[in-house]
């Protein structure tokens, strides 16, 4: 199936054409913001990472996420803003992103000589990049190039009955077209891992699924956490245990076989359904999947949420009509019609798939209209 997207030098395909202004370190946040705000068509993010004193594994993860994020096909060009003395060297991150062949620049505040000069240089560089980006046209691309990130947040007891299974249908449809989906949030597979392992393409993948779930569970126990893992809103929404939440959650992945298990923010090497090991926190999980190359995010919710992503459209799917009625400003699709008996899982699944195609062609999601762009990198404790 065909859609119109942006073809990148590394053969990947974007559904948006953003200039991303990315600080490599917390100290460059405001400089990045000032650059981003002056340029039409630019997005910027801020975060708390990058300085020093990270565990080694943590540094690797942050660096990989930043490079992956800048390499996402929805990013047409990238400006990395660094301070100069940080662990996350802006030039190294820029070089990592530059491997995709897209225009990348690093601006290092200490080298340039202060933030005002850095802002000025950033705006001038960005202006040239945007002139180039704006000249690019959407071209016919195959849907098999798409990676669909499957996310949920603010779940309730309806999620597992309406929104998640409908998303599973859409995910299976995309995979049927040769595309990929990423299922994430390992802590929300706890209690359902045996079902996912059964769907693994081979024993190695099955073992990996069991391994990451076991690891997440152990980690929680070690930290003295109550692994019932439910946010207060989940409980108020009628979910009783983590197992119940997980069994509903995994419906997002439909019925396709699991091809691969990835660590946080790695790029898939196979097509089809992928599991990525991410924490049970939606923004950190989305950030990882986008760093892995996902171009569109599907986000099921029961309680309603405004979360957006700076470089990828987020399609919000609501599990019940009551919340949809209240939070239409933030939600794109109402799967509550399934509960109301007005539609079937199959029909809403088709609707989500069509929305994925429309959004890939340029239709804006609610979070995009509001200009929302949340960003957060998960930092392992060890």
């Amino acid at each position: 199936m065909i859609f119109n997207g942006f073809k990148r030098p590394d053969q990947s395909v974007g559904v948006r054409n953003h200039l991303l202004v990315l600080p490599s370190v917390v100290c460059a946040n405001d400089t990045a913001r000032l650059i981003g705000q002056q340029l039409q068509g630019a997005v910027y993010v801020t975060h708390e990472h990058g300085c020093g004193a990270h565990y080694h594994s943590s540094s690797d993860q942050i660096r990989r996420t930043m490079i992956g994020y800048g390499s996402n096909p929805n990013v047409g060009a990238c400006i990395v803003v660094g301070l100069g003395c940080e662990t996350m060297d802006a030039e190294e991150i820029a070089a990592g992103i530059a491997k995709t062949g897209k225009p990348v620049a690093a601006i290092v505040i200490q080298k340039v000589g202060g933030t005002i000069k850095a802002v000025s240089q950033g705006v001038q560089t960005g202006q040239k990049m945007l002139a180039e980006l704006s000249a690019q046209k959407r071209q016919e691309c195959d849907l098999s190039e798409l990676i669909f990130a499957l996310e949920c947040g603010g779940s309730d007891s309806n999620s597992g009955i309406s929104a998640n299974p409908a998303l599973g249908v859409a995910s299976d449809l995309l995979i049927g077209e040769g595309g990929s989906s990423i299922l994430s949030e390992t802590s929300e597979i706890v209690g359902a891992e045996h079902l996912m392992a059964k769907r693994a393409v081979n024993k190695e993948v099955a073992d990996q699924i069991l391994e990451i779930v076991h690891r997440a569970e152990q980690e929680g126990v070690k930290q003295g956490l109550d692994m019932s893992n439910l946010a207060p809103g989940n409980r108020e929404g009628g979910l009783s245990t983590v197992e119940e939440k997980s069994l509903g959650n995994i419906h997002k992945g439909g019925t396709s076989p699991v091809q691969e298990v990835l660590e946080y923010a790695f790029k898939p090497s196979r097509k089809g359904l992928i599991i990525m090991d991410t924490p049970g926190y939606d923004v950190e999980s989305i950030t990882a999947m986008v760093a892995g190359g996902a171009q569109v995010i599907a986000f099921t919710t029961g309680r309603g949420t405004p979360v957006g992503c700076p470089v990828a459209p987020v399609i919000k799917i609501c599990s019940n009509s009551d919340t949809y009625g209240k939070m239409q400003d933030n939600i794109d699709i109402n799967a509550g019609v399934i509960i109301d008996g007005l539609s079937t899982v199959q029909e809403v699944g088709q609707q989500i798939f069509q929305e994925l195609v429309d959004v890939s062609n340029g239709k804006l999601t609610k979070a995009e209209q509001l200009g929302f762009g949340d960003f957060s990198i998960y930092r392992p404790l060890t």
Partner: protein, 398 residues
């Protein structure tokens, strides 16, 4: 051919904006909050309608409606309040007219929405809806006849009349011959060259309108009791070597090309059809681009001299058409081009260097225009160069 957006009324757009249009100055603040909350929207605030003559209020109304109907606009949120409505500026009527063209329009009345906060909420929702609809538009092949260009010259110097304006004039000829539409204006700056233009008017009626516009503005200039040379040419022109208003005018009119002048339009008035039009307007870089956008210009061309300009300065930082009509900077001065490379989209300075002809440059200019019309951003558009709007009001206020 270019890739543009086809609107329900048959017009073409080269951009796809949602316009937020407060029609009374008292509703600007609500409209500004809505604009901040919804990505992809642009706002044109209204100023100065209070204590004005009916003629000036009509000018404001004509300009606002013209902006709304510009092909670059995909949808419009009209913001008003019955308390402030007057016969010339009525938000409900304006929304009805826009609606009759098939363009998506939403109406926000502040009192009817239930006050400030409710109006912002309701306005943001309406704007969301319009942005969503706009995002369904795709660029399609359009013909030159669908394109409307406006031009103004500024910081004029002696290259303007030799290598800058004549290139624009030739490009206008190409556009008009292909059935497109072109605007030029600046009534003060045809003084001394009006006879040449009068000969090109399509009939006597248009000729009379043109000469009347010139004699009115000349009479106004004389009524000041001042030497026009303290007013126009402006000091920058004189520093660059332009000596008199007549010299400036003779250089300026070359930007109109050689096609017949179909009509003389009021500021902000939409033309009755395609072709070349003279707009009776004022040279201000804030008011003129706005008036041309209201008349339907898709792209506004700012032909620069720039001889006296300091290095790296934006050639003309006070500028307003970026609202919905992108501005293209062009110059025939190779020195300006070097000094302001970050702002100038097209340079015909090769003519001054003896390396190219006006005809060759005009062909290149058309190519460059069609790229911008197909979606490439102008250099000033990217950095959001945008001053507050300024309507061209001619009567005193009380």
């Amino acid at each position: 051919m270019f890739l543009g957006y086809k609107r329900p009324d048959g017009k073409a757009g080269i951009r796809n904006h949602v316009l937020i249009l407060p029609v009374h100055r008292m509703v600007n603040s609500v409209a500004m909050q809505v604009e901040k909350m919804v990505r992809g929207t642009k706002i044109s605030i209204t100023t100065g309608e209070v204590g004005r003559s009916s003629k000036d209020r009509e000018t404001i109304a004509r300009t606002l409606l013209g902006l709304a109907l510009n092909g670059n606009v995909a949808g419009v949120l009209v913001v008003g309040d019955n308390r402030y409505s007057c016969k010339e500026l009525n938000h409900e009527e304006m929304a009805e007219i826009i609606n009759s063209t098939g363009k998506p329009v939403e109406l926000l009345d502040i009192t009817e929405s239930g006050g400030y906060y409710n109006a912002i909420t309701s306005g943001a929702r309406k704007a969301h809806k319009l942005v969503l609809e706009a995002s369904y538009y795709r660029r399609e092949p359009c013909e030159l006849k669908d394109l409307t260009l406006g031009v103004k010259c500024g910081t004029s110097d002696p290259t303007s009349g030799v290598a800058g304006n004549p290139v624009v004039g030739k490009a206008f000829d190409l556009l008009v011959k292909a059935g497109g539409t072109a605007f030029f204006s600046e009534t003060t700056e045809i003084i001394g060259a009006e006879d040449k233009l009068a000969k090109r008017c399509v009939n006597e009626k248009v000729q009379e309108k043109l000469l009347a516009a010139v004699s009115q503005i000349e009479a106004k200039a004389k009524a000041t009791g001042e030497d026009i040379r303290n007013i126009n040419p402006i000091p920058e022109n004189i520093k660059a070597g332009i000596t008199t208003l007549e010299e400036k005018s003779l250089g300026a009119i070359t930007k109109s090309g050689s096609m017949p002048i179909r009509d003389v339009l009021k500021y902000g008035e939409r033309p009755p059809g395609q072709g070349l039009y003279f707009i009776d307007g004022w040279m201000s870089s804030l008011s003129l681009p706005l008036g041309m956008a209201a008349a339907g210009a898709n792209l506004f061309m700012y032909q620069l001299g720039g001889q006296g300009m300091p290095d790296l300065a934006p050639p003309m930082p006070a500028y307003s058409a970026g609202l919905i009509t992108p501005m293209m900077y062009l110059t025939g001065n190779p020195r300006t081009c070097l000094k302001a490379e970050e702002f100038v989209d097209f340079c015909s300075g090769d003519i001054m260097e003896g390396k190219s002809s006006i005809e060759e440059m005009a062909e290149k200019l058309m190519e460059s225009i069609l790229k911008l019309a197909s979606g490439t951003w102008t250099k000033t558009e990217i950095i959001n160069l945008q001053d507050p709007v300024e309507f061209y009001l001619q009567d005193p206020c009380f």
